[in-house]
């Protein structure tokens, strides 16, 4: 295999922004999307990084995505709002929603914003992390097109429906959870197919819903918890669907047009998101929160790992480590994306 190409974050940022602008994205849209993609690329979540720019540019040109959306905010109560994303890129809507939730939480202690008529938003953690920047705790969810079967089901029903949460840690990088409610993303199945390798047990099912480790036979994902405890992952996916779509007026997962496995690139998909922001100052107080979270993390990180010589990591620790490494090494870019961005 040839050496993997690496690019600096700076050049990737410029090329990504320009590619989106050239495809018809407004300045605000291109900027928000670029920030979200670069965030994922920096922390090592390459599936949600700059490689997505090719797809977004194609969808802007095909008409599914509105490059110049006019976001409409409906303030429905002192602590809640509904945001109509006008079929634009999800990243722009999500940053906007999170900012609004932060502003409401500063007034009312907690704020929630639902987003509808949106689209794929990349890594949900990008938006949850805006809350710690304001000293608050942020939660972000998004529904998505069906490729996960319910527990012991025979059809895909839920999307991989991520849950993200971020909390400020005084003097440290934030605590950061960003997880799909399936064990793996469907892209991982495609990777195993191309490598000719068997899948791990309990992560995917064949067309009849039976667990399979044959990547070629896998046609849908199993929810987190697998064959025996997948009712929990399915329940969490349902929680995300209810918050992100049922509450907001977005399309429920099984009715949503597929993101890529479709020939329809013109109809907007009406993806939904949901964010909640909490102000620690309105609960135990900022000082008590800071002290308790640092104590919690210190105790967690002091636990020895089953891997000799290592300690347990907190959610986010691996991502922040990767971010530091990539400051030195640059960001790996796959050949297709390298070609698209003319790197």
């Amino acid at each position: 295999m040839s050496e993997i190409f690496h690019a600096s974050a700076d050049i990737l940022e410029t090329r990504t922004r320009n590619a989106l602008l050239e495809a018809g994205a407004s300045t605000e849209t291109a900027e928000a999307t670029t920030q979200a993609l670069l965030y994922a690329s920096r922390i090592g979540v390459d599936s949600h990084g700059v490689r997505l720019v090719t797809h977004y540019a194609a969808m802007l040109r095909a008409g599914r995505l509105n490059g110049t959306p006019a976001l409409k905010v409906h303030r429905t109560a002192p602590a809640t709002a509904l945001l109509d994303a006008d079929d634009g890129l999800g990243h722009y809507a999500c940053y906007h929603a999170m900012q609004l939730a932060i502003e409401m939480a500063a007034q009312t202690g907690i704020g929630a914003v639902g987003v509808m008529r949106s689209s794929h938003c990349g890594a949900a953690g990008a938006y949850a992390l805006k809350a710690p920047e304001a000293g608050m705790v942020g939660i972000m969810t998004s529904n998505s097109d069906a490729n996960v079967t319910p527990f012991r089901g025979t059809h895909a029903f839920h999307g991989t429906n991520p849950i993200a949460m971020a909390a400020p840690v005084e003097g440290q990088m934030p605590w950061l959870l960003d997880m799909a409610t399936s064990s793996i993303p469907f892209n991982r199945v495609r990777l195993y197919r191309s490598l000719g390798l068997p899948l791990p047990a309990g992560v995917a099912a064949d067309a009849e819903g039976n667990m399979t480790q044959d990547a070629m036979q896998a046609s849908m994902l199993l929810p987190l918890g697998g064959e025996s405890y997948g009712f929990k992952g399915a329940g969490l996916a349902g929680m995300v669907s209810i918050l992100s779509a049922v509450l907001t007026g977005a399309m429920i997962d099984p009715r949503m047009i597929q993101m890529t496995d479709t020939s329809d690139f013109t109809t907007p998909r009406n993806v939904g998101h949901f964010c909640i922001v909490l102000d620690p100052a309105r609960f135990v107080g900022r000082e008590g929160f800071d002290r308790a979270l640092k104590d919690y993390l210190a105790m967690l990180r002091a636990i020895l790992s089953t891997t000799a010589g290592e300690s347990v990591m907190a959610p986010g620790d691996r991502e922040w480590k990767t971010m530091e490494e990539r400051k030195r090494t640059g960001i790996p870019v796959d050949p297709d994306t390298r070609g698209f961005l003319k790197l």
Copy 2:
């Protein structure tokens, strides 16, 4: 084996309430705890049902639990509050917190209440379900004493830290998720020990943190997701800890006195809970919410199960079915509890 004894909900309710009153619980405390225990017993969650009354009565008598707590509500902002449970039984505090969150959500669209200086609260779903009674969506979490290892850790750190959510379904029983963030509770390990059976794979670890199926060797639980994806279950347990304890001033899981595996029955444990209530009327609107949730559930329940002749169930369906069955059969009561309640 002899036939299992069944009692009617009515007699169980009376005996449970009386047992708590006799152990020193106030009328309000006894009533709330009885309602929460009977709820769990009715829906088939016997681990959190009336069998707990023996333990609660003992802890009231020993002094760990304050039978006559004076709940203190600190209204910290229009949509938030912190509730000091005064070391009383968690059930009383949780019903109170959820009611307050519902009242705030009616004004501000969303409401959140943190609870500290509390104790075991039984099934978190009991409180989440109060929100659908008011036409709202309820979320409830609780931290608990450490018996789950972090991902690839060598010590127990988190509790089984449940997440519950309930949503109103027009003309039907509520959608109801109530799940621990481990695959199984530690009581299940004890059950396998007594039965001399091997544990399922990926649910428990030995004292060194290595996965084991030997129930006698199991000394802690693995987080949901098991050996390969347990970082997700551990992350969810952390989310629950941060909401329920770090935000509220309750004891973090690894510092909490064990519920049963301890000789200290006099020191209060300072368990924490967190509830969030959302009003659908302040998002897509009540009508749109009702329509979308019914559509979502109809599509979910139309999916055939991998078990021939069956369909997929939504979260809560099994519980509501058990509740109907137990109206006819009565509630099974184990010999110890039967003896304690003089049935």
